[in-house]
């Protein structure tokens, strides 16, 4: 049959990855003291499905591992075995091996045959130590004392039958006790042997093939084992007759013992015909069998026109990200065009052009809806990222000897796909950090009057155009004096008068690490500074709250999407700039008495009891023809990384949603600018990199400030 199985591989890969994922989370969620039957069933089903499909598509290495896994899981779900922590560990490890194998089949990375053998051995050991009977063979059918019923027709290659059978018996004796349970008689050329002992039916088959016609060999396990070479079967008198007639095609052997014989074949059978069921189906059988060759021919012919017929139950389609991005880009252009039109009609008579105005209003609404739905295509639930943490927390807490429970909240919160991918690593680092430095050892927790079980909470929610992700722990909290001491040691600007918030932020400085020793867990060469840099690069912010003895909470705020931004447009000379709205605290028109200056340094502004450095946009970007006196223009108070500054501009223009265009890709990187956008007028406006501007202001001030 010339069906190219590889066409189903992609679906198989996805489905198997899904099964592995759900298996892992189910295993992690399993309460060993009171295992939930439905959960056990679901875990079994996952392993079972993987095995079934892997076998069908010929991924034998996957089948090998899942087979043993499935056997163990089956016994657990049937209550024959009690699940233990060691088993869960082994199952999780098996899941990892399967994931690696799957990746190798997908062409990502190399398969490690050693790992497969190791996990098979580990699982077999679990089977063996917990089995009622010894299971010495790590191959399939590893549990219990197997019993094989073997039937075959001797090869009529002229050899003496009794010698052949004697030799065979001797060979098979190596596997266990062999007995002859049926000899050929009259019309029936079939030999039947029974072998009691642990063996692999493939191995048996190879041995028997020396003396028997290979298409006649039937090996069936009795007992609860799954025989490796079962095929199919129909139970019923009628069908047995047809099977016998079918002999010439080499599909079935004449096993003329009515239903029992078919059972012995074990690979295929029909149940007893139902009282009134016999008539329709079986009636058609004889002709079909006789015309088999013709039927095959017809089948070949008929297959041609429908080769492209695809299974279509799924209600979702898979589309490449680049196509979605192209769509988003086009919608972005549409938004700009719409804004342009809106601007063009801003000075026409709304009464005269009422219909035009109404049409444009409609266009604006439609554009906005379209934009939202297109953006939502790229949105993914954050559970994609959160899903990996139960395993991480489990493994790490075991390694560290801590007891930690992971609580996740708001997993369905959606975030842009690009952000999802990029937030995974920083979050990973924050969780590791909480585990390593936050949650204390059980003894210290008890001494501090807490329960030995620490909690790490991952929480995601939306808040006014941002997605907020919190990583919290109920550990010891940050140690202010230790951080300050460390910061001084590292030559970082630190003073005792700093607020807690500022002190906490020191841990994000490059080269800062308070851990006494670099641990395997969080000290992996990547510091918290990288975490912060990554988050900032996504247009996000990270904040820390910590109370000694109570815990620490790191809060990451991310924009919903990277493609669109809420911005405030400001004018400086003839130029328009966009300030991302999230950074804007307030805008004000300063009076002369608010303006101060320190000798040799640029100006300061005194706002609400606080002195803020002033960053004049015209100075930073060398813009000609702007206002230069502070009290004639506008100051926009901006905040980034917990530091505030005042940005001096000519005027506020308005507030827009702007479509972000990459400046680096279209021009080059410019300090102080994070991107560009096209305004309704068709002009390009640059988007300010607020963090960089605040940094400039900070560096212009003496450290003492």
């Amino acid at each position: 049959m010339a069906i190219d199985m590889s066409q189903f591989y992609q679906v198989f890969f996805e489905e198997t990855a899904e099964h592995l994922g759900s298996m892992e989370s189910l295993l992690l969620g399993l309460d060993l003291r009171q295992p939930d039957a439905e959960q056990l069933n679901a875990i079994f089903r996952a392993a079972h499905s993987i095995k079934g499909s892997a076998g069908t598509f010929g991924f034998t290495d996957l089948t090998e591992v899942t087979h043993i896994l499935e056997n163990l899981l089956d016994r657990i779900r049937k209550g024959e075995l009690a699940p233990t922590e060691a088993m869960i560990d082994a199952f999780l490890a098996a899941g990892d091996v399967l994931t690696a194998l799957l990746a190798a089949h997908r062409g990502e990375g190399e398969a490690d045959p050693g790992a497969v053998a190791a996990i098979c051995a580990r699982l077999s050991e679990l089977t063996a130590t917990t089995a009622t009977a010894p299971a010495p063979v790590p191959a399939p059918a590893a549990s219990g004392e197997a019993c094989f019923d073997i039937s075959f027709v001797l090869d009529d290659a002229g050899q003496d039958a009794s010698t052949a059978i004697d030799n065979l018996q001797a060979e098979l004796a190596a596997f266990g006790t062999v007995s002859i349970i049926g000899r050929p008689s009259g019309q029936d050329p079939v030999w039947r042997l029974r072998l009691e002992g642990p063996a692999d039916s493939d191995m048996l088959r190879e041995i028997i093939e020396f003396v028997a016609r290979s298409d006649s060999i039937r090996i069936a396990t009795t007992g609860s084992e799954v025989a490796a070479d079962d095929a199919y079967g129909l139970f019923s008198d009628t069908f047995d007759v047809s099977e016998a007639a079918d002999d010439s095609f080499g599909l079935f052997e004449p096993l003329p013992e009515t239903p029992a014989a078919a059972v012995e074949d074990d690979s295929f059978g029909l149940f007893e015909p139902l009282p009134e069921a016999a008539a329709p189906a079986p009636a058609a059988v004889p002709e079909v069998v006789v015309d088999r060759r013709v039927a095959v021919q017809e089948r070949e012919d008929r297959r041609q026109p429908v080769t492209n017929a695809k299974a279509g139950v799924d209600t979702s389609i898979r589309v490449g990200v680049e196509r979605v991005d192209q769509l988003i880009n086009l919608v972005g252009e549409l938004v700009i065009t719409q804004a342009m039109l809106a601007q063009a009609v801003s000075d026409v008579d709304p009464v005269k052009f009422e219909r035009l105005m109404r049409g444009l209003g409609q266009l604006e609404r439609n554009t906005r809806d379209l934009q939202e739905s297109v953006m939502s295509i790229r949105m993914m639930p954050i559970s994609v990222v959160f899903g990996r943490f139960p395993r991480l927390v489990r493994d790490l807490s075991q390694k560290l000897g801590k007891q930690v429970e992971l609580v996740t909240v708001g997993e369905s919160t959606e975030l842009d796909k690009g952000l999802i991918e990029r937030i995974a690593d920083p979050l990973n680092h924050l969780v590791r950090n909480s585990l390593d430095h936050g949650v204390e050892m059980p003894e210290s927790r008890v001494r501090a009057g807490k329960g030995p079980l620490g909690t790490i909470t991952l929480k995601a929610y939306q808040q006014s155009g941002n997605v907020v992700i919190e990583v919290g722990d109920d550990g010891a909290g940050l140690n202010r004096s230790r951080i300050l001491a460390k910061a001084r040691e590292r030559g970082l600007p630190a003073s005792d008068s700093m607020s807690d918030q500022e002190v906490w932020l020191l841990i994000f400085e490059p080269g800062f690490s308070t851990a006494e020793q670099v641990t395997e867990v969080s000290g992996r060469g990547v510091g918290m500074d990288v975490v912060k840099r990554n988050i900032t690069a996504m247009g996000g912010r990270v904040e820390i709250e910590s109370v000694t003895g109570v815990g620490t909470r790191m809060t990451v705020r991310l924009p919903l999407t990277l493609a669109i931004l809420d911005g405030m447009s400001v004018a400086a000379g003839a130029e328009t700039y966009i300030i991302p709205l999230g950074y804007v605290i307030e805008s004000l028109q300063p009076t002369r008495d608010m303006i101060k200056s320190i000798s040799g340094v640029s100006r300061l502004i005194h706002v609400r009891g606080e002195y803020l450095p002033v960053v004049a946009l015209y100075e930073v970007f060398n813009i000609p023809g702007t206002l230069t006196e502070l009290d004639t223009g506008i100051l926009v108070v901006i905040e980034a990384d917990g530091v505030r500054a005042a940005l001096f501009v000519d005027a506020l223009v308005g507030q827009h949603q702007v479509v972000i265009k990459n400046l680096e890709a279209n021009y080059r990187r410019v300090p102080g600018i994070s991107g560009a956008t096209i305004m309704g007028s068709g002009h390009v406006a640059l988007i300010l990199d607020v963090a960089a501007l605040v940094g400039m202001a900070k560096s212009a001030l003496p450290a003492a400030a």
């Binding site: 489905e15 199919y232 129909l234 139970f235 149940f271 007893e272 297959r303 017929a309």
Partner: protein
């Protein structure tokens, strides 16, 4: 008119393979993702043959067979169970539920076709 086969399996890859093979042989295939879905779809159209997996979420294969047999139009429709188990216990249960026969996984497309041909031609 092409004979209609209802293929019930929670594994999309197996389902696609079965459907592709059977469609290639000129059968019409109705797919269902689990026993419940299979039963629902069986009620909308009467199939000439039902192929069902045993282990599925929501409703397993045996329950599906029993439920089908309770429907007047499915009293005599052959039902084959596609299963990785071929133990006697499974057979006893399958027979009791009213299944016509079984086909053990893994199977290749040719074997599937052979059995289907044998049962409904």
């Amino acid at each position: 008119m092409a004979k209609l086969i209802l293929a019930v399996d929670d594994s999309a890859s197996i389902r696609q393979m079965v459907a592709f093979t059977l469609k290639g042989a000129g059968y019409e295939v109705l797919e269902a993702v689990d026993g419940q879905d299979g039963l629902d779809k069986a009620k909308t159209r009467t199939a000439n043959l039902v192929l069902t997996d045993q282990n599925m979420p929501r409703m397993d294969g045996l329950t599906l067979v029993k439920s089908l047999r309770a429907l007047a139009q499915y009293k005599t429709v052959p039902v084959l169970m596609l299963t990785t188990e071929s133990s006697d216990a499974m057979k006893t249960q399958g027979r009791a539920a009213g299944a016509t026969g079984w086909l053990v996984k893994p199977f290749d497309p040719q074997k599937l076709l052979d059995v289907v041909k044998k049962v409904i031609g």
